[in-house]
Symmetry: C2
Subunit: 235 residues, 2 copies
DNA sequence: ATCAGAGAATTGTTCAACAATCCTCATGTC
DNA sequence: GACATGAGGATTGTTGAACAATTCTCTGAT
């Protein structure tokens, strides 16, 4: 059966070389910019300015805007243009409400999870610890995102994966309201390690409790940051 | 405070008159066609044919295709065109996995839910019972969708609402693999009534158990229908 | 200071064109 | 007869320009 095995190995690589449209590549660039905080929340994105800067036509750029609009990173106002999303306090509580539902369900279903999926959780924990050792706070944040993406992956559910990916991207926008967003994730690295070890021991319910505690703490911290920011600059 | 109250009332109506783009209206038309089964799963949608039929340009039509692609009703293959999504058996289990996570979480959070949200659940139950009395099976299916949308609404979460709306639209596609999709929902009308009454009595945990039982039964029924269909027409 | 309105700037949509890619089918080979 | 190989046609991907519709800005009048 060497032929079949070889084909399987090839088809596993298929995603690597999947051609993407210009609009998708433009969306990738803009997404990275928005997530990195290079564009301020609420800022308007001019079609002509960005189109000429990136060397794509308005039509193509508008397709990219639509893509990011569906990820809630940009908001499209009819006849007014597209703006970088400006998350509110309510968005934070909503994001955490959905994260709780999806990630906890994924973690609780981890009993019959693929060992590779569990390994990815461990890899993300290690990645965060390494980044913390280098004092690379941005990388710690990225690793923390990978951790939660890996937790969601325990469900083995494509739709859960995609939904959580979108939620986490949106969350990175939220972090920019914090005074020191870089350090937000640092205290949670140890907790992630703890969750992973419990998961590996098969104590999924205990792991879920720790994860729920993380959600509560992180949400409260973000909401407080919002209340502080809004007191300084009311709407 | 009459001014403030008046403004509140107006802003509640804002959604009604929100202008929509041509692409969105085109997407509405196509969505209705796909959901109603007017286009077979796997069928290719030609840009020129549909564009000229609807009297819109290719660019606008492509925007509409993108919208429906994000709802997973259409799949876009690069350089090949867009096709009506063709759900598989795995899609069914994945859809129910995510529905379980979101709808059960919403129902369990119904303790502090808005009384209006609870009332909408009751209204959907009534709608289904009325349709069943008329033997209007398609309307029963629609009412069942409204029921689950209303259950999701108990969370008071915009993101949950949107996610469930997408899942349910996708599910309507799945129903078309059944031999008699019209009658699928009928047995569940009574169960929906039971869930609603438990919810109204505040026995949310008992209601959640019934809802979980519904998911199990409906998922199994659909998976079996798939296995039967695939035996007749293997991939 | 507020309001109205003219003009500029921007978005919404269409059209036409061309490049890139895929599909079909006839042809030739084994 | 089964299968590979191209040639040609059809379809999608992307661009640029054009015009309509809407919003924004700034001036001037009250």
């Amino acid at each position: 059966m060497t032929t079949s095995e070889g084909l399987d190995r090839l088809s596993a690589l298929r995603g690597t070389l999947e051609r993407s449209s210009t609009a998708e590549r433009v969306a990738d660039v803009l997404r990275a910019q928005v997530i990195a905080g290079a564009m301020a929340p609420g800022e308007r994105l001019s079609e002509e300015a960005i189109g000429s800067a990136l060397g794509v036509s308005r039509n193509t750029l508008r397709e990219a805007f639509r893509l990011l609009g569906h990820e809630r990173l940009l908001v499209h106002e009819f006849n007014r243009g597209v703006f970088v999303a400006k998350p509110t306090r309510d968005d934070v509580t909503d994001l955490y409400l959905v994260r709780r539902a999806l990630e906890l369900a994924a973690l609780r279903a981890a009993g019959g999870a693929d060992p590779e999926a569990v390994a990815r959780v461990g890899a993300a924990v290690q990645e965060a610890e390494d980044a913390a050792a280098r004092a690379d706070w941005w990388a710690v944040g990225t690793a923390n995102m990978h951790f939660h993406q890996a937790v969601a992956g325990l469900a083995g559910s494509p739709r859960t994966d995609e939904a959580v990916r979108r939620l986490l991207a949106e969350l990175r926008l939220v972090f920019h309201v914090m005074a020191a967003p870089e350090e937000f994730h640092v205290p949670y690295v140890a907790l992630n390690r703890e969750i992973y070890e419990l998961l590996r021991e098969g104590r999924t319910e205990a792991a879920a409790e720790r994860l729920a505690a993380y959600f509560d703490a992180a949400e409260r911290q973000l909401v407080e940051a919002f209340d502080g920011a809004e007191r300084h600059a009311p709407a």
